[in-house]
């Protein structure tokens, strides 16, 4: 693999949790290289470490040991506030339960990352307007999340995740709370983003969705079991 232009390089990542007295190996010696623009599905049974991997990639969690390079930069040693900066500029999150702020309108929810990044109000208005238009939410902009359908909520969440134009989009079961048709729409939306160059990593249980990705990573008990690219090449982790 062309490691020089790799967006993500994980080297010997370990992450252990303690649940009471028992030790849970959430990640065991994970090594991964992900290039810019890839479309990856992470699959595996629950408790296999998928979400931990995603959180780690999103800098919400730190490995106990190992090195994580993001865009050529070692981000494991960054201070929390610097990590927040990286999250703000380079990483977009999409969650199964949308995580929209209930008291804010769709537009205000989309604006949130821009506000947190300290972008000036005029530019914010521009970018939110554009995002709302792109995601077909024009007539829903001033509605609160509880007035939106599941698909609309997830579209708002995707708009929010992409409004800062991140290079890396992390989706944790993005269709888990949606019916089949709406789920298809959302996946299609994410794939469109991927075609525009965003690196997309989707954690999913759904084999059908997983199969659409260009690369499938299967995890079990904290380790990468299979890593398949374009349904042909097989690399064991």
């Amino acid at each position: 693999m062309a490691s020089a232009e790799a967006l993500i390089r994980l080297m010997h990542i370990h992450r252990t949790f303690y649940l009471g007295d028992s030790k849970v190996n959430a990640l065991r010696d994970v090594n991964l290289t992900i290039n810019q623009g890839e479309y990856i599905a992470v699959m595996g049974p629950s408790g296999s470490g998928k979400s931990t991997l995603l959180n780690l990639l999103g800098l919400l969690d730190r490995p106990d040991s190992g090195i994580y390079h993001l865009a050529g930069r070692d981000v494991t040693t960054l201070a929390p506030d610097e990590q927040a900066q990286v999250r703000s500029k380079h990483i977009g999150f999409i969650f199964q339960s949308f995580h929209l702020v209930p008291r804010l309108t769709a537009a205000a929810n989309i604006e949130l990352p821009l506000i947190l990044a300290g972008i000036n109000p005029d530019e914010r208005v521009q970018r939110v307007k554009q995002a709302i238009h792109e995601y077909g939410l024009d007539d829903r902009a001033q509605h609160r999340p509880n007035e939106l359908s599941g698909g609309q909520r997830q579209r708002v969440a995707i708009a929010r995740a992409t409004v800062m134009r991140p290079t890396l989009l992390l989706a944790d079961e993005p269709t888990g709370n949606l019916d089949k048709v709406t789920g298809e729409e959302v996946i299609h939306l994410l794939e469109t983003l991927n075609q525009q160059g965003v690196t997309l990593i989707v954690v999913t249980h759904d084999q059908a969705i997983g199969a659409r990705a260009h690369r499938q990573i299967t995890m079990d008990d904290g380790a990468v079991v299979t890593d398949t690219i374009n349904n042909s090449e097989l690399i064991t982790g």
Binding site: N55, D81, A84, S88, F93, F95, S97, H99, A117, G118
Partner: protein, 403 residues
């Protein structure tokens, strides 16, 4: 994050749970309002007493019969336990002292006044012509008592405004006679309405020459001797000289008490200031309670909004921004409470003044600032802990909660 955005976000968050915010603002405002109203009350009491006492005159030295304190054992105490009377002669002797401007003997009793068949009970004041200047009384009609020696005095009387109205109505009373006890007195003047002092309204007074009053009451004793010093600086020398003179006139025995208006004023002022301070302290307790309430509410809010905090972090918020959001929210709540409370407090004080117009119930400025300061400080102090909790929150765990 920009400050305006922080403010906006925090205020939206506060408005997000309206009832909670309303109750909190109410609690805080009751605290601030109670500081304002209670200090207005007690400072009003201070002003009232001080005003009453200053309105009796300026630079006054007052002689009271009897001693207010015992200075050790004196054989004379065994022999003579009753003090000698203060007499008109004592008063006249004091007038000769240097630094003394005016001296008025004072005799007070209740008495019945009778004119054209109408009878009324009122306060009889026996004094001399200087009393008017000394007490800064104002006349609406006629003249004050004529300047005669203390011994004599023509049978004349000056009426209070209310007495005049009740006895004579709109008629001009000057030159008419009224009957006080068994004496017939000619009305020479009427006092202006609204004068007061020492809790007494001058509207209900009958002022007669001291000699007349003494014969009417069949006594030689004076109730008080009022002395006005020529200037403020001379008050102390006048006081010692007065005491010396009286002692020498009373065969070496100190059987009078001499007080100065200044000292009394200062004492009242001090006591009532301490009272106000104490009351402000008590009221401030309710502010501290409100502060704890702010903390409680913010802690609950942090727990309720765990997922939101996690989200903010995922979206790139630094711990500092998260902390700031919650502190600003706590501050906004307490500021709103403080402002509402200030309004309520001033309204309450205004209402008190409306109910009791003579009572100057204005909250002292220091108490207003102290109340506001305590409210904001408690909001800030008690807001810090919940905000830190929010900032320390683990983003992943926070996000795994659904809302």
């Amino acid at each position: 994050m920009r400050l305006t955005d922080t403010l906006r976000f925090a205020s939206y968050a506060a408005m997000g749970s309206f009832v909670r915010t309303l109750l909190l603002v109410l609690a805080m405002s009751i605290g601030v309002a109670s500081v304002v109203v209670l200090t207005a009350l007690s400072d009003g009491a201070r002003r009232y007493v001080v005003d009453e006492f200053s309105s009796i005159g300026t630079n006054l030295v007052i002689v009271l019969p009897g001693r207010s304190e015992t200075r050790g054992f004196n054989p004379a105490n065994l022999v003579t336990s009753t003090p000698r009377d203060l007499t008109v002669n004592d008063a006249e002797a004091l007038l000769r002292l240097s630094g003394v401007k005016l001296v008025s003997p004072l005799l007070i009793a209740t008495s019945e006044v009778n004119a054209s068949g109408k009878l009324r009970e009122s306060m009889l004041v026996g004094t001399n012509a200087d009393y008017m200047q000394l007490r800064k009384l104002k006349l609406s009609l006629g003249r004050f008592l004529s300047k005669t020696s203390s011994k004599g005095g023509s049978p004349e009387v000056v009426l209070g405004a209310l007495i005049r109205k009740e006895l004579f109505g709109t008629e001009n009373p000057i030159g008419k006679t009224v009957r006080i006890g068994d004496k017939k007195l000619r009305v020479v003047g009427v006092l202006a309405e609204g004068g007061r002092g020492m809790g007494m309204s001058s509207d209900e007074l009958l002022i007669v020459p001291i000699a007349i009053a003494q014969t009417m009451l069949n006594t030689n004793t004076l109730f008080r001797i009022l002395i006005e010093a020529q200037s403020r600086e001379q008050i102390d020398t006048v006081k010692t000289q007065v005491l010396k003179t009286i002692i020498s006139r009373h065969e070496g025995e100190e059987d009078v008490t001499v007080i100065t208006q200044d000292a009394v004023l200062e004492t009242f002022d001090n006591i009532l200031n301490v009272l106000t301070l104490g009351i402000a302290g008590i009221a401030a307790i309710s502010l501290a309670v409100a502060g704890i309430l702010v903390m409680n509410v913010m802690l609950v809010s942090v727990t309720q909004r765990t997922a939101e905090i996690g989200l903010l972090k995922a979206l790139g918020a630094t711990s500092y921004s998260v902390q700031q959001l919650f502190i600003v929210e706590a501050l906004l709540l307490s500021t709103a409470g403080a402002i509402v409370g200030l309004g309520l407090g001033y309204l309450g004080a205004a209402f008190l003044r409306y109910l009791y117009p003579v009572f100057p119930a204005y909250p002292p400025l220091w108490a207003v600032f102290a109340g506001l300061g305590t409210a904001l400080a408690s909001g800030l102090i008690f807001g810090v802990m919940p905000a830190r909790n929010a900032a320390k929150l683990d983003a992943i765990q926070a996000l795994s909660k659904r809302y």
